[in-house]
Symmetry: C2
Amino acid sequence: MASKTLHLGAFMRPVSIHTGAWRYPGAQPDANFNFPQLKHLAQTLEHACFDAFFMADHLAVLNMPVRALQRSHTVTSFEPFTLLSALAAVTERIGLVATASTTFDEPYHVARRFASLDHLSNGRAGWNIVTTANPDAALNFGYTEQIDHDARYVRAREFFDVVTGLWDSFADDAFLRDVESGIYFDPARMHVLDHHGPALDVRGPLNIARPIQGWPVVVQAGSSEPGRQLAAETAEVVFAAEPDLAAGQRLYADIKGRMRQIGRDPSHLKILPAAFVLVGETLAEAQAKRAHLDSLVHYDSGIASLNGMLGHDVSGYDPDGPLPEIPETNASKSARARIVEMAARDRLSIRTLAARAGSYSGLAFVGTARSIADEMEAWLLGEASDGFNIMFPWVPGGLVEFVEQVVPELQRRGLFRRAYEGTTLRDHLGLPRPANRFFA
Amino acid sequence: MASKTLHLGAFMRPVSIHTGAWRYPGAQPDANFNFPQLKHLAQTLEHACFDAFFMADHLAVLNMPVRALQRSHTVTSFEPFTLLSALAAVTERIGLVATASTTFDEPYHVARRFASLDHLSNGRAGWNIVTTANPDAALNFGYTEQIDHDARYVRAREFFDVVTGLWDSFADDAFLRDVESGIYFDPARMHVLDHHGPALDVRGPLNIARPIQGWPVVVQAGSSEPGRQLAAETAEVVFAAEPDLAAGQRLYADIKGRMRQIGRDPSHLKILPAAFVLVGETLAEAQAKRAHLDSLVHYDSGIASLNGMLGHDVSGYDPDGPLPEIPETNASKSARARIVEMAARDRLSIRTLAARAGSYSGLAFVGTARSIADEMEAWLLGEASDGFNIMFPWVPGGLVEFVEQVVPELQRRGLFRRAYEGTTLRDHLGLPRPANRFFA
């Protein structure tokens, strides 16, 4: 193996980020909501030695106009914990990353579910921490308006402290189960958290043993300013994706630099950008496949995606004119910035931006197995990433092509494992097991 | 088959209600928290054609003194949705009943998880609605004191309306997935709930298709006065257990009478009392086994259980004296009433009551396969129950003895199925699939 190797996650909710994916020839239209198919995909990814199966999440039917919504293959999806727990029972090694919101859930529930998934999977759970931005989600949880971006991050930081504190409720050796004396556990090895903070009051202890991994692996997007700081302080995997190598290097240096400043070892966080990867026999074939895929996205979906990314409705403007000035909103700051930058740089019309937004506008590797491996190697060796979270163009075909063509090319170069060396997600990622803050 | 037949659930959290279970010769001390073992038990129950695998739940480490707590095999347990989803992937037919609290959870989360479990299991989910009474649970969710008993039931009723309304967000035929036109679902077949009530504001729609069963099966304890009324209005399975046949008949008549009064078909609710069942080759052997099991419960555990059931600390009174007057509390009213009645009727000391409370003081069938089948048949034909939720004395032995000895005896009498006739939990229980309130 090379001295530096890639980590690969599979970004599996939706099974393809691409709005046209379910219509592609050979695609399974219902793959996003078909358990036998998802089981087969997870087993295929495990056979290819992927680090993790990653479930994004939304706490609402996405807020887009009905004329776009009716075309979305994400409107019905499994809830992450139920799906990943079912997959835990039919896989052996692949990591299982679930998304849970710090804005609309309780730390006791979140800590408990991840601990339970980690035990059920024998140490394969990861927590993608999100601070839900979708205003429609707020309406599903009794709020009349969205919670402010900065306030969400303040609660997220406290929420993280409470969840990790609850995971440490029991020492690893607390459970004696001494049949003779009748002592099931040592109460001196149980800690009552008794947390009282600005946003949360949680007594504890958690009613489940410490997770196999100590803590499930902590995952974050980490793209906005408070997001990057939260990631530097708490994350072990970041999946923010810059659109090119140079921007990727800046993000990588920024987050790892923030870690050094607060005394964290930079190797204890892996930057695995979400990347759309489409492979063909030739570059021309790959580009033709992407063009076909993009052509399956209706304009109604494109403009809705664009509005969503901007956090602002531009459908009233001339489709063939330029993008107007976009005000600050509660939408994801990185998505808005990326679109505004792309529009200015390439002088794109709203119509063209809508096509890109609706098809997928972020980091993409479209080419042959060799050219894709070249790009991944350049990102890895150029310190722009430690690997990638792969978004497949459609399933099963696009996933199978990646596994059968790109993975062997990476393995030939010594850039990716041919077999799992450990059993836990931490083992796969080369992350240390956290010490218990309350017990030696 | 006889014209009336039994339904059998397995009450599996904890794997045995009996505090001494984990110490019994041949028992697996960690069975409550051992996934391979729980998988084996679920598959054994499915082979015996049980209707359902039932997970009780607690949202805290149980509030008992440490000297009792350290002897409890329930202090570490899987979270119900993660465990049942994992079991869904390794079973085919048995129903999967999870407990979820209306007091400390959000209806959007609860509706979504049950819908997801129902889809993953192809129609085998059930929801045990509880209104969490444990004051230590309140402290884990930001409350400084327990919420009043009646207020919990008011919220529970509204919570039920919201959850079932969210399950009806999509018509059964909403998802078209028309590759040609690019229409994934028909927006005219999606309903926005837009609920605004005294306790809850929830917009909807739910981001998952309508459950396979329409609604997962609705399960309740249904023992207290508001609990019985809520059950008559909303439940499809009740597991409240009276200690003898005559009391069981009164409860059965009461709940089914309440149903008739509000125009519900009494056959649309199955009363399946939780029953502790211990089988031996002879009555004497069975009684000796129970005595052995009871002897494994330490006095410290017994007095703690007694205090918990009374909702009142009686450990300061003379252990060999009578039970003092017990004030009204927020504890489960049925448990307190049962103990107080038992104490008065049999003139039992606190010490004896503690031994019963700590070992298990409710409905029990202890005898031979034939005597147990006789009792079950008497309850069924005497209109005291429609079956039982079985609590095993220990596992795996106590469960295996029930499956190998009592089930065949019930089958010989035509009182229990030899094979599943349908695929869903509703099929097993003979319950109708609810109509969608918003769509024909």
